[in-house]
Symmetry: C2
Subunit: 283 residues, 2 copies
């Protein structure tokens, strides 16, 4: 017996309300499907923290710009369902576009400041789409805990702020990035890479690890020096086209001149062809 598949928003809300009334602890793992081992780690964290575990699978049109990869984003529903079954998920909420964005839809949630830098520069409406759909998913699934990966660090920081600001009573639980053996952060978009691009992409992780080494072993704290080291390595060791390399405060996502102990995010985005990959570390 696998998870119950729920397609309709109000039905999801009714089910969640019923379980909450019975005092059961709900966790939600919001995903766009195309589940990989990174998602499995989120699902397992959710399973540990809940009586009722909901995985949402929704390729959210509101977080894609017109020129982005909405249409070709990988959709692997049967395999996703199989992973959810293996991990003991109770509900898979896989709504239609129509039930999430019915005719006349017009309400959006924005988290100012935090959404402007990093990925927000090249994707100016992306985090509005994310904050909107996550608000909606939280109101539909009524979770005690919601599980997000550090891989999407800016998203995590934005959603934590949004939940606090809107008084959504949910604990945002972060989970460490899962990586392939060569260090590449798992991402549904890795499927887009050619074999040559796939061979180059681990330079992102290596450049971040080298930056960590420069900070911890050589006590380099000047972020301009560190950014040059990272961009230099990516440029030397790959044909990737850098979108950004930023060193920011984990709280405000504002650029730092000097590394701040326990409060620093080093984040980057890089293109191979039209495939955009992101990675980050916290130091």
């Amino acid at each position: 017996m696998g998870p119950e598949i729920v397609r309709e928003a109000q039905q999801m809300q009714r089910l969640a309300t019923r379980h909450r009334r019975k005092g059961r602890r709900i966790a939600v793992v919001p995903t766009m499907g195309a589940l990989h081992e990174g998602h499995r780690a989120l699902i397992r964290e959710g399973r540990r923290r809940s009586d009722v575990l909901v995985v949402t699978i929704f390729v959210n049109p509101a977080q894609f710009a017109p020129h982005e990869d909405l249409a070709r984003y990988p959709r692997t529903f049967d395999a996703d369902l199989s992973m959810c079954r293996d991990e003991g998920v109770d509900f898979v909420f896989a709504p239609s576009d129509e039930t999430m964005y019915p005719p006349g839809y017009g309400t959006y949630v924005t988290v100012e400041d935090l959404s402007k830098g990093l990925c927000g520069k090249s994707r100016p409406t992306h985090f509005r789409g994310v904050a909107t759909v996550v608000t909606k998913l939280f109101l539909l699934t009524q979770p005690d805990a919601a599980i997000f990966g550090w891989k999407d660090a800016q998203q995590l920081v934005i959603i934590r702020r949004m939940a606090r600001d809107l008084h959504i009573p949910v604990e945002i639980v972060p989970v460490e990035t899962v990586r392939d053996a060569d260090g590449l952060a798992l991402s549904s978009r890795n499927k887009y890479l050619s074999p040559e691009e796939r061979a180059e992409a681990p330079v992102l992780c290596r450049s971040l690890q080298n930056a960590r080494m420069l900070i911890e072993k050589e006590d380099i704290r000047d972020t301009a020096v560190l950014r040059r080291a990272i961009t230099g390595q990516i440029e030397r060791e790959s044909k990737g086209r850098i979108d950004y390399v930023e060193i920011v405060s984990l709280q405000t996502l504002e650029p730092l001149a000097q590394i701040a102990r326990d409060n620093t995010l080093i984040a980057l985005a890089c293109y191979w062809g039209s495939t955009r990959l992101i990675d980050n570390i916290r130091v």
Copy 2:
């Protein structure tokens, strides 16, 4: 024994959660205080529909533009509390700015399209502030029903859309505008009027009633003709400076060329000095 006064957001949410768990029906009446007989009608409607009635009193800075009347907006907390006591209100939620907008606050709810016309033209950030604070108040007070006046028709339409779009499980209950004997719609801002201005202001209501008569008795359906009749009367009979006179769809708030039976809102705003009054009718 009067209502319990709650000042802190999380405390309000805890109280509401406790009552919901016991299966009690909660109604909320969101206000900015300076309560008048219009608010009393909202409170009575809320009382009829609930086991637990919450009146919120919060002069929401996010819905005032810098040049608007936030600082001088009337604050009459003791009298407000007295009315709440008389009407059997259970909780008065009167939060501080700090508990609603703590440091680092950055999350806003917008309802596109509906917020652009009518009052949105002269107050471009107003409805963003309204939608944001009402979302927050709904999440804090967890109401089954929320009571709003037709006086603020655009607000009512926007909040209904917002609640639907975000899946907030609350019934939005509208209540008819309460008027003085001479027809002036009750408003906390009427206090700003000089005696001469107060004597002129009922022209708003009269012009709307005349428009209704032209529609119902003379079957005039051309909205350009009706708008000219309304603006002409206001200009002839007062020194008020018209902000807008619009005839729009009640669903989309988009301008209509012809009156649509049961789906038409005639709304206007007019200044006397710096005091801006609004009124409307549905036809």
